[in-house]
């Protein structure tokens, strides 16, 4: 079946119009039959074409009669609630499309903002060519959201740490303290799952050397030492003393 995009306008060519009519009318009746069967519901269709004074109908004259009788017994306001013609149907679809566009644009804006935030983190400066004040506010809000989420997780982990049965974990596989920075979050390993179970909490994503390093890290935060042997394991110096921004804002 060839799928050419048809312009939604009255087909002026008589032959083409008749062909289209025959095809589409058949397809329409098929669709209503499917709907009726799939959902186990009553339905009927009446089509008055230009080629026949008698209408095309579905299912049968008796079927149509019974559905129409049922339809007529319904109070007027109930019927008209869901009664549509071309105009009202179009307007409905337009409303729905508008909502979808709004939602998609909102989602995209969120994603762009997150991207911007990370760009700023990476570059060590605020990428400010196109930023409006609204955007800045949005960025600020996004940062707050992220901080909230981080704090939430830290709290959970903190609680677990304090409530866990073991303070110092002897691990099965001694992971070397100085390791290469994983390019992606470390995949779940059987070892990790075992660890999680030992701590009494399943489903927690933890770094391999989390527990060992945590105390180490806490000391670090308190003292603010820029120690080169920090084993976060990247090949370059962690210039911790200077904080994040080594150069001032432009």
């Amino acid at each position: 079946m060839t799928r050419k995009k048809v312009k939604l306008a009255f087909i002026s060519n008589d032959v083409a119009r008749k062909t289209t009519y025959k095809k589409r009318q058949k397809g329409l009746l098929k669709k209503i039959e499917e709907l009726s069967t799939l959902c186990g519901i009553d339905a009927c269709a009446i089509i008055y074409g230009p080629y026949d004074p008698q209408p095309e109908i579905w299912p049968t004259p008796q079927g149509v009669q019974s559905v129409l009788s049922k339809f007529r017994t319904i109070p007027e306001f109930e019927k008209s609630k869901k009664m549509l013609n071309q105009e009202t149907f179009m307007k409905q679809r337009i409303l729905k499309a508008k909502d979808q566009v709004k939602k998609q644009m909102k989602d995209n804006k969120e994603k762009e903002m997150t991207l911007l935030m990370f760009q700023c983190l990476n570059l060590g400066e605020i990428v400010h060519n196109n930023l409006s004040r609204t955007d800045l506010n949005h960025l600020d809000w996004l940062i707050d959201q992220n901080l909230k989420d981080i704090d939430k997780r830290l709290e959970v982990e903190d609680n677990n740490y304090n409530n866990g049965p073991i303070q110092i974990i002897t691990t099965q596989n001694q992971v070397p303290v100085q390791m290469a920075l994983p390019p992606s979050p470390p995949p779940a390993t059987p070892w990790k799952e075992e660890m999680a179970m030992v701590m009494g909490h399943s489903g927690m994503t933890m770094n391999n050397d989390d527990i060992m390093q945590r105390k180490f890290l806490m000391d670090l935060m308190v003292n603010g030492n820029g120690d080169e042997t920090i084993s976060f394991g990247h090949p370059h110096d962690a210039n911790l003393q200077s904080g994040f921004w080594s150069n001032q804002l432009p």
Binding site: C39, A45, Y48, F71, L116, F118, L121, G124, N239
Partner: protein, 219 residues
């Protein structure tokens, strides 16, 4: 943000009553809408008159008719030939013109939606690519403790600097008498605010930002 499951897409199903109720309801909704859409198209393309009545699983009556449901039903039940007064035809022509305009509007909206969806996918793609390079861009749920702490520090610093940046902009703007001053005195910001968000101006960071991030960064 939670990750949405992508839909199963088009699947062939047997034409028999759907066993699961929720599934049945969704199918009814979708197919009813599609049915009306096809009917509407048939009317526009071939100039036919039509009436469709369907009852929902909850026994609510949905109907679609062109030009009107009731008139078609009457015509069918009374076997009367259609009334074709000139006033009638005028109303018809007017209606059809409306529908044409509405259709143009709808097509524009759907195109816009497509564009936005594509852009969303692009950004998603970029983000995924970056996540394989920069671990701190992964979702917070996937980060480990020490990573979280580091990230927190960096983000807090960024927040600080945004505050400084914003005040700096405010000061600059109030010091410089700009010819663009609008009535509310925020001429410069107004022009900024009119920018179309961030658009597709976001390019991936320069290749050596990885080093920048490490050399200059707390990370």
């Amino acid at each position: 943000m939670s990750k949405k499951k992508s839909s199963l897409g088009r699947q062939k199903i047997p034409i028999e009553k759907i066993p699961k109720k929720s599934h049945l309801q969704v199918t009814f909704s979708k197919r009813r809408s599609g049915l009306f859409k096809k009917a509407s198209e048939l009317c526009t393309l071939c100039g036919v008159e039509i009436a469709i009545v369907v009852f929902s699983p909850a026994n609510k009556a949905f109907s679609f008719g062109h030009p009107e449901v009731e008139s078609i039903i009457d015509r069918y039940l009374t076997r009367n030939p259609p009334q074709e007064s000139s006033a009638h035809q005028l109303v018809e022509a007017h209606r059809n013109a409306n529908v044409r305009d509405l259709n143009i509007q709808l097509t524009q909206l759907l195109n816009h939606l497509e564009i936005e969806k594509k852009q969303g996918e692009e950004i998603e793609h970029m983000r995924k690519a970056r996540q394989s390079q920069f671990w701190w861009e992964s979702p917070i749920d996937e980060l480990g403790l020490n990573e979280l702490v580091q990230l927190k520090g960096s983000i807090e610093e960024l927040k600080n600097n945004i505050g400084k940046f914003a005040s700096k902009c405010m000061m600059e703007q109030s010091n410089v008498p700009s010819p663009n001053m609008g009535a509310n005195g925020f001429g410069r910001y107004d022009s900024l605010d009119n920018k179309f968000g961030l658009g597709i101006n976001i390019a991936p960071p320069p290749p050596n930002s990885y080093y920048l991030g490490f050399r200059n960064g707390y990370l």
